[in-house]
Symmetry: C2
Subunit: 311 residues, 2 copies
């Protein structure tokens, strides 16, 4: 099993999309730069959604050219754009994104609120987008949203995300992200969902996307890592939540995920100390207190006049 | 593997021993009663240590007769007294404790500060206490303190807690508790330490004792549960820390551990909702904000006018 772990920073997208304050485009670009400076190589900075529905993301096309460029920096940067439908897909394609993230929720209720589609309609919509992307040479990552629980219908049987995953791979999705959108899952459920999928498709095809709503994100991330999952979403400072998912407060904080994975011997390439500048900027931009648990500990050490020693 | 999990409440001991405020005996007894009312059946309410060193525990003998009695309640209650040495053992025996908890730290530095003994002296002291307890028919649980890291010497190789565990079982200890006293461990380390020990001695012989200093307690508890461990320490509201271990803030909160284990399908017999009264009393008694992550979530739900639905 590889000891290299990939963290995909979704703070600029999932983190900012439901903030009462719409962060300006330049600040977003500065935040992306600070994240890249800290070692982040995978970022989901935008979503091409209706600016009426989510005004915080209205600058997706404007932000894109301002993002740090791998060519300038002499290392590859991997950007993904979230898209809700074919229209969003076209915009992401025009903006030059090499990877798009699709969203398929597990229930009729959740798809209805998110996309105004039934589960079957949303599934077919994803299949159509995947086909279009395949024809265009654009990679696809399909999020199985509410894979653990639906904000409207409650807990979801493990067979449901498994079946949707199989259908998305059958349609040609390059990757699938298993998402605990409202942070209501648990590590046993992670095992029960993922173990059969990993046996069937291989761990390298999967992302895990967690929210720390009830305090179990680290335990769930570990359960996934222990099964061989090496790709995770996270959000700087724990910024985030889903505007259409009541109770979905706070993605798993990037710094906490880096600390968890690195402490367990995996290599993320990301420097927790350097992430602090990004947390500070995200706090200033959103005017709310942010920061994962490892930052609280580092700050408490510093208050006692000590230099926090992470490793 | 059993689906029954045991949580040993150490809030009254590990939780209160380093609070600036010494909680009075009657309040401690009330707190024990609230914990038992919530379903707690295993409690470590006292330690028989020097009242000069730890004045917060000076009322150990006075508190003991005030604790809820299983005979009155018609269900068994399992009490443990922590003891640092043979003198403490005698006091615990006189007070009628059926189980004593011994402490063996992993390094010379830590034993020196805790017990004014070298590692070898402390090991022999534990062996002597275990022999005395065996002769008296008193059960022993030996804590391997600093099993993941020492507050003075840093990370500890996994072979060290393993060797000390083997020696304690060889001496006749009934149980061993693997303790991340300063909350600096990680779930991979938990696996590396515990998996061989469980193969050798069986999961039912082990407790795991965690501090959530750096935010990894839930991940480590899950790593242990996933290996079959079914016995855990926890502290109401996350109260706690070790007076001789700098940086050891906060045991894993009882309510977070109950939520983790129950959500994953294990049966603790403890009611998170009913634990809230104990958290409130612990807050009042120590005059500091307390409460695990699941309580923060429940409170945020209530602020939004919703009834938190845990399961």
């Amino acid at each position: 099993m590889s000891d290299k772990a990939i963290i995909n920073e979704v703070g600029l997208r999932d983190g900012l999309q439901n903030q009462p304050i719409t962060v300006d485009t330049d600040t977003k670009a500065r935040l992306a730069r600070l994240l890249v400076d800290a070692g982040m190589r995978y970022l989901e900075p935008v979503s091409f959604v209706s600016p009426k529905a989510i005004p915080q993301m209205a600058d997706a096309a404007a932000l894109t050219p301002l993002l740090p460029k791998g060519d300038d920096l002499h290392f590859p940067l991997h950007y993904t754009a979230l898209i809700p439908n074919l229209k969003g897909y076209q915009l992401a394609k025009e903006a030059g994104y090499p990877t798009v993230a699709l969203v398929l929720s597990t229930t009729d209720s959740f798809n209805e609120r998110n996309l105004r589609m039934s589960l079957e309609q949303a599934t077919q919509s994803c299949e159509a987008i995947i086909a279009a992307a395949k024809a265009d040479g654009i990679a696809t990552r399909t999020y199985i949203s509410g894979a653990f629980a639906c904000p409207y219908d409650g807990p979801v049987p493990v067979t449901l995300p498994q079946q949707l995953t199989e259908r998305m791979f059958a349609a040609g999705s390059d990757e699938v992200a298993i998402a605990d959108t409202i942070g209501a899952g648990n590590p046993q459920q992670m095992k029960d969902i993922m173990a059969p999928l990993i046996r069937e498709f291989g761990a390298e095809k999967f992302y895990v996307h967690l929210h720390d709503t009830r305090g179990l994100a680290a335990a769930m991330a570990w359960a996934a890592a222990d099964l061989g999952v090496r790709r995770f979403d996270a959000s700087i400072g724990g910024l985030g939540g889903c505007p259409f998912a009541p109770g979905a407060t706070g993605n798993m904080a990037t710094e906490d995920l880096v600390y968890l994975l690195e402490s367990a011997g995996l290599k993320t390439g990301i420097d927790v100390e350097k992430l602090r500048a990004a947390v500070t900027l995200a706090q200033e931009a959103t005017q709310r207190p942010l920061g994962g648990r490892i930052l609280s500990w580092m700050e408490s050490q510093e208050k006692q006049g000590k230099t926090p020693c992470l490793w």
